[in-house]
Amino acid sequence: MPQIDHAIELTDYRRQDFSVCLGCKICASVCTVNDITGNTNPQDMLQRIFLGKDISADEPLVRSCTGCYRCTGACPWEIRIPDVIRALRHELNVESPFEKAFKGSVSLFGRVYEPYVLMKAVPFLIRGGYMQHVTRWMEYMGFHLPHRVKRT
């Protein structure tokens, strides 16, 4: 439970704010994650957070939320569920090597320098079968040297 409370502190919400949820499940009816796995219900997760129950890092919503805000757009209270899930991902250390490289670049250069991020994530890209797409990406990816990336 303290972990969930920690995660909520990272958002603009307090746990009791979720008591307004009407239980209409319209968020579940529009959730993009249901196009991938099915049976995803953000309302159920909000209820569990409100009740102080644990959320697992393996849940499809935590793993695969795309941050599309379809739930927020449909919700009568416009609850920003993707913000809550992003905070949960942060607290539960759900972070891909690419995300780590992204943050590494931001703290090093102040910006995302794509060649740096890709180099850092090479083992992950090979394992994940991304190399087959590289020629496609090269068609439109611009390249510039890091000296144009400013440190802040």
């Binding site: 995660a7 990272l10 958002t11 603009d12 993009t32 196009d35 991938i36 793993r63 695969s64 795309t66 941050g67 599309c68 805000y69 379809r70 927020t72 757009g73 416009e78 920003r80 913000d83 992003r86 905070a87 949960l88 991902r89 942060h90 607290e91 891909s96 690419f98 995300e99 992204f102 943050k103 670049s105 931001v106 102040g110 910006r111 995302v112 320098y113 794509e114 060649p115 994530a121 992950f124 994940g128 079968g129 991304y130 797409h133 496609r136 990406w137 439109y140 990816m141 611009g142 390249f143 510039h144 144009r148 400013k150 802040t152």
Partner: protein
């Protein structure tokens, strides 16, 4: 008019074409754009700590203070973050799609039309949601395509999610979601978001995926725009 310009990280690399397009179109419309000096990353979607995320954009606004009031931000993620960070409404954070209004087209010199071509406008998520940061005219791409004689298709695809945010987390998620959009659309896909462009282009095969700026430049007569 003079605008401040916040290109964001992807527009210096993988979405350089969008950056070039925006600069060209604004110059043709007689606007000047100056980059916010020494801007930093907006944090995109990668930071779970809301304060940390907002602070990135507050830093950018700090750098713009005294130089610019209106700031143009083409990347939807940067646009949303910057607009949310401007809590006191001190700046005008503007998405280019809101600049391409009726008066813009009155001054646009048309060199070509889109007759006989089919397009699916694809807005993706962040330009349309949440409503506080959404663009004003949510049918601007359709209106433009019709205005210049093109056929609009794929209404069911326009506000779905391509899963671009997950492309470097779990590729299979992005592939599945992007393929739904490719199936529900017809003709050339017209996008504005660098992430949507990357996700859809990765899985589009022979189908064309272009930026909306490419379409405008084509109409204006630019060589090799499409």
């Amino acid at each position: 008019m003079e605008y401040g310009y916040y290109p964001g990280c992807s527009l210096t690399g993988s979405a350089r074409k969008l950056d070039k397009g925006i600069r060209q179109i604004f110059a043709r419309a007689g606007h000047t754009m100056k980059e916010i000096p020494d801007w930093n990353c907006c944090g995109a979607f990668e930071y779970g700590d809301r304060k940390e995320l907002v602070n990135f954009s507050k830093k950018n606004l700090e750098k713009a203070r005294g130089h610019f009031h209106d700031i143009v931000t083409p990347c939807p993620a940067c646009y949303k973050n910057l607009k949310e960070a401007d809590e006191a409404y001190e700046f005008g954070v503007i998405h280019p799609l809101d600049v391409f209004d009726e008066s813009f087209f009155q001054w646009t010199k048309q060199a070509r039309d889109l007759a006989g071509q089919v397009f699916t406008p694809y807005y993706g998520c962040i330009l349309l949601r949440p409503k506080e940061t959404a663009i004003r005219n949510k049918t601007i791409m359709e209106e433009t395509i019709v205005r210049f004689g093109g056929e609009v298709a794929g209404e069911a695809a326009k506000d779905r999610c391509c899963g671009g945010n997950q492309i470097f987390i779990d590729k299979s998620v992005t592939e599945k979601l992007s393929r739904i959009i490719l199936e529900k659309s017809r003709g050339t896909l017209v996008v504005f978001c660098p992430l949507c462009h990357m996700a859809l282009k990765t899985f589009s095969g022979e189908r064309k995926v272009i930026y909306f700026t490419d379409l405008l430049l084509y109409i204006m007569g630019e060589k090799g725009a499409l």
